[in-house]
């Protein structure tokens, strides 16, 4: 982790030594996003910060799965294009991957796709068909994370309202005890 970004970790996560970032992921991007969410949700208490972290982790998982879906397709498409001879240029699988990753519809790429009897859409469709089970599994995982995310969001609202309710009740108690003291004082003075 770079020193530029302050590590955002709530009391519960630090206690449990939770490290949501995996090798190869940008810790900076994670911490920035989390800080933004905590600020947006105005999470202040221990539980609220923990829930905000979990909400963000769900979003991060969804992003992970989504990236994996994209990479799966790109790798398959590049493999299908491998060994396609394009006039003066024989692109390696890696070059195909790079071109597909950045959606560079270069003439060489399009010619390579055409040489395999495909266009971009049909190539993608073919890759999707071959990896349909894995893609479906990843979609299921995204759906699961979305469901957990919704549950955590509802829980966050409960936690936030709970804090508000607690403060309101404390104020009401203070008001009641002041009223009681006033009544006690009034009764005391009238009996004298």
């Amino acid at each position: 982790m770079t020193k530029k970004v302050k590590k955002m970790q709530g009391a519960i996560s630090s206690l449990l030594a939770v490290n949501p970032i995996l090798p190869g992921e940008s810790a900076e991007a994670y911490q920035e996003g989390l800080a933004g969410l905590i600020q947006e949700l105005e999470a202040t208490t221990v539980l609220q910060v923990y829930l905000a972290e979990k909400i963000y982790e769900c979003l991060w998982w969804i992003r992970r799965y989504d990236t994996q879906k994209r990479e799966t397709l790109i790798t398959e498409m590049a493999q299908m294009l491998e060994n396609s001879y394009v006039s003066e240029l024989a692109l390696s699988q890696l070059e195909f991957r790079e071109a597909l990753r950045w959606s560079e519809s270069s003439a060489a790429l399009l010619r390579a796709i055409a040489s395999k009897g495909h266009d971009m859409a049909s190539l993608r469709q073919r890759a999707q068909l071959k990896w349909s089970k894995q893609l479906r599994d990843l979609d299921d995982q995204i759906a699961l994370q979305a469901k957990v995310l919704a549950g955590l969001q509802a829980s966050f609202e409960v936690a936030a309202n709970r804090t508000l309710n607690r403060e309101r009740m404390m104020l009401q108690n203070a008001l009641l005890s002041r009223d009681l003291q006033a009544i006690d004082g009034a009764v005391g003075s009238s009996s004298e």
Binding site: L47, Q68, L94, R97, A154
Partner: protein
């Protein structure tokens, strides 16, 4: 028909091969059937649990019972999340070193291959025949190998995450339920 002496010999042989004898061996084989341990009862460190309870009590004004129940749910949820992360690392395959290139966009199946490939493309562009003493063909073969291993690891990793889905779902539901129960 088995004779008495044969039966006795069988019995004696069986006595010699009835599994591990030492405590260490027995302990080891007792874990043979463990796949992920997520269905096992939660074995939380008492000191950790106590610290968590204290934080929840101090920060949220929860009663001891409420805080303890919530703390156990949190630990159970974290256990399943940790398992998910570990399994997802399996999808990284050969790419688990993590310090390859901070600028690369996160993509489990791609980082090593991107790095190897960019070196390859660069060397080819410059007309070099070797990279760090290795011929270019070696790099090309390595690249293919990485791509293949990434893809099989990816399949296995996703399968394992799916297999542990229900534990994650259950832990999440129990945590959410416990949190909603506090909402009065």
């Amino acid at each position: 028909m088995t004779t008495v002496s044969q039966r006795r010999a069988n019995w004696l042989n069986a006595q010699r091969s009835t599994g591990p004898k030492t405590a260490r061996g027995r302990k080891r084989v007792s874990q043979n059937a463990v796949r992920h341990g997520l269905s096992a009862p939660l074995d939380a460190d008492p000191a950790l649990l106590e610290a968590l309870v204290m934080r929840l009590q101090a920060g949220e004004g929860l009663s001891r019972v409420e805080a303890e129940s919530l703390a156990l749910r949190i630990i159970a949820f974290e256990r399943t999340q940790a398992h998910q992360r570990t399994r997802w690392l399996a999808t990284l395959g050969s790419d688990a070193s993590g310090d390859l290139d901070q600028d690369l966009e996160y993509s489990p199946a791609a980082s090593v291959t991107q790095l190897l490939g960019s070196r390859l493309v660069q060397a080819e562009g410059q007309g070099n025949t070797h990279i760090a003493g290795q011929p270019l063909q070696w790099y090309k073969d390595a690249l293919k190998l990485f791509i293949q291993s990434d893809r099989s690891a990816q399949r296995a990793g996703i399968r394992e995450i799916r297999a542990a889905d229900r534990y994650y779902r259950r832990a999440a539901n129990q945590l959410i339920k416990a949190l909603r129960g506090l909402g009065v």
